[in-house]
Symmetry: C2
Subunit: 397 residues, 2 copies
Amino acid sequence: MRILVLGGDGYLGWPTAMRFSDRGHEVTVVDNFARRRWHLEQSTDSLTPITSLEDRIEVWHTVSGNLIEARIGCIEDAEFLDQVIAETLPETVIHYGEQPSAPYSMRSRKAAVETQQTNVIGTLNLLFSMRDRVPDAHLIKLGTMGEYGTPNIDIEEGFIEIEHNGRTDTLPFPKLPASLYHASKVHDSTNIHFATRVWGLRATDLNQGVVYGVETNESGLDPRLTTRFDYDETFGTVLNRFCVQAVVGHPLTVYGAGGQTRGYLNIKDTLRCVELAAENPAERGQYRVFNQFTEQFSVSELAELVKQCGEEAGHHVSIETFPNPRVELEHHYYNASNQKLLDLGLEPHPLGVELVQSVFGIVAENRDRIIQRAITPKTKWNPGELEGGALSVAQRT
Amino acid sequence: MRILVLGGDGYLGWPTAMRFSDRGHEVTVVDNFARRRWHLEQSTDSLTPITSLEDRIEVWHTVSGNLIEARIGCIEDAEFLDQVIAETLPETVIHYGEQPSAPYSMRSRKAAVETQQTNVIGTLNLLFSMRDRVPDAHLIKLGTMGEYGTPNIDIEEGFIEIEHNGRTDTLPFPKLPASLYHASKVHDSTNIHFATRVWGLRATDLNQGVVYGVETNESGLDPRLTTRFDYDETFGTVLNRFCVQAVVGHPLTVYGAGGQTRGYLNIKDTLRCVELAAENPAERGQYRVFNQFTEQFSVSELAELVKQCGEEAGHHVSIETFPNPRVELEHHYYNASNQKLLDLGLEPHPLGVELVQSVFGIVAENRDRIIQRAITPKTKWNPGELEGGALSVAQRT
């Protein structure tokens, strides 16, 4: 299969590229190194040392014998993207090429606009190029569970049957995005759904939970193939950050009451989910949504797990309630369906002591690279006078 | 009240500015003349001759004694917009400042990107400036009934109570936008809802139906105060276009089966609705949605009405089924609520023979300005090979 990976230099993009390349597919990656640039701008970096994309590709070739092609450019640049699509004629497009951080999007007007512009216009350009160049190709788009927010009903996979005044329809599941980044993903979903309805494209939207871990089968082949490990307040995800905190003796920073519950999954399961989506493409005109996570945890549960594992490993670990920089419900109902990927054959790697210990190992190995200043959250969802009050006033309506 | 009208040179913006100015409010209009430029680019124009914004403002001053202030610039230019907000400190912002045409948004990738960029980024800039400069001000945003599409259940006003697996929540009404323009309005709604939830802004989203007519109490005071009357395939709305066709002897162009049903309202009712929203502002943290239309009609019903009135006025009128350039259901259930504005006191001007005849009068008066070439639709929703088939394959899921 000819596969195009947008954002192929990223945390998930690079391991995805190797996975498909290993399986004998013809892989091209597109990246503009935005993630590396954003880190430069805030004087932070991946905990794991990552080599340049060209080096990675060379090492991968040496190790596996397989070639990965790279095209450097922005997908907001329609001419660039259209040329890539026209020349590579992908059968599957895996789209990670977006600004992926909620705190980044809430940092300033400029960062919010950059986020929505990069994500919405990039995806819109992609939809037009697919329509005009490869209308039969399958778009696999990385969405996020954060599009749904925390409604008081079970979260279904993209659509919900609604009975209302004696009539029934199956309609897009209502969205309550948790940040302007999450809002940009809602916009993408709306545009992609439209493109399937009106142009007959085929698309799978993977509403992913929070990913943890770094090791994949392919990255284990050579240390220079490792993917990035972000732990800073902007690009780091919570479990990775807690593990860094445990090792360096920083209290685990639980935001607010800690009852915030979300879906989580191992990076290995992410790769398998994307693979399952690619192997079982959507039909022409079909917009499928899979909720891509394997387990639900509250922030407090994760903190307790890391504390327990940390203490077993000889670290002194404390948990500290940190004033919540986000505006979000800290106690809420949360029950999301994730049946569709299981039905396709996903066999989850559940989160356990072993995974946490392996992350501790990575942290210990790179301990001298840790930038402590980057750990504490600085970006507030509501920097103004209304602090803390807005959500309780009116969650909706 | 200090009122800022974004898009204050437009079809609805200019009459709105006069209305509030007439009532003694301090009105500033912002415009970048995008509508005039788009007409220039496609060699079309308003049927009614419209004077420059500066002339309109001068005439209005002479006629009414009231001053309207103008600021020329783009709201996508954050610095410009922020300065306007900081200097005028509006208590109410009425936001018409968007690319308003569905066919325009479907014309090309470039036009689609322009539409979503103008609309989404402009509104995002506005939300940040309101948060930082006038957090207590009331945003009145013009949305569209086209955000909902044509679901098989009754359309409620912005939110719907959903009972699901024994639990209940009131959530945003699911959206099925009818074009990439309508999608941009869905994106706006998501962003505005977020800003009310997280920053405590107050906002009213007016999901407006199709507006017809040109005369308002204020524009009647001097012919140089008239608003624009668009009848071309891009910016014209269906009733206005049918009236032009009836007068010039062009068959009324019904797209497809003609069963497409939508909400409609008189321009006079638009002004009254906006006024009612301004007089009864949303609460802090509240995101209100009003469905702003007074009657529902199918396209065939409108064509029959115009045919009947036209023949009474001595025109020979035929109705022609035109291959539908849009991808939309041509027979569907449609029942939308519009109770909230009625509850606030709206007294609708129903559509009737009299209104159609008054539009005929305007057309006759400006008959020599009609550009026939502009009437026939050229923009197809799905220009590719899939023509016509996509929607029936998969309306959703």
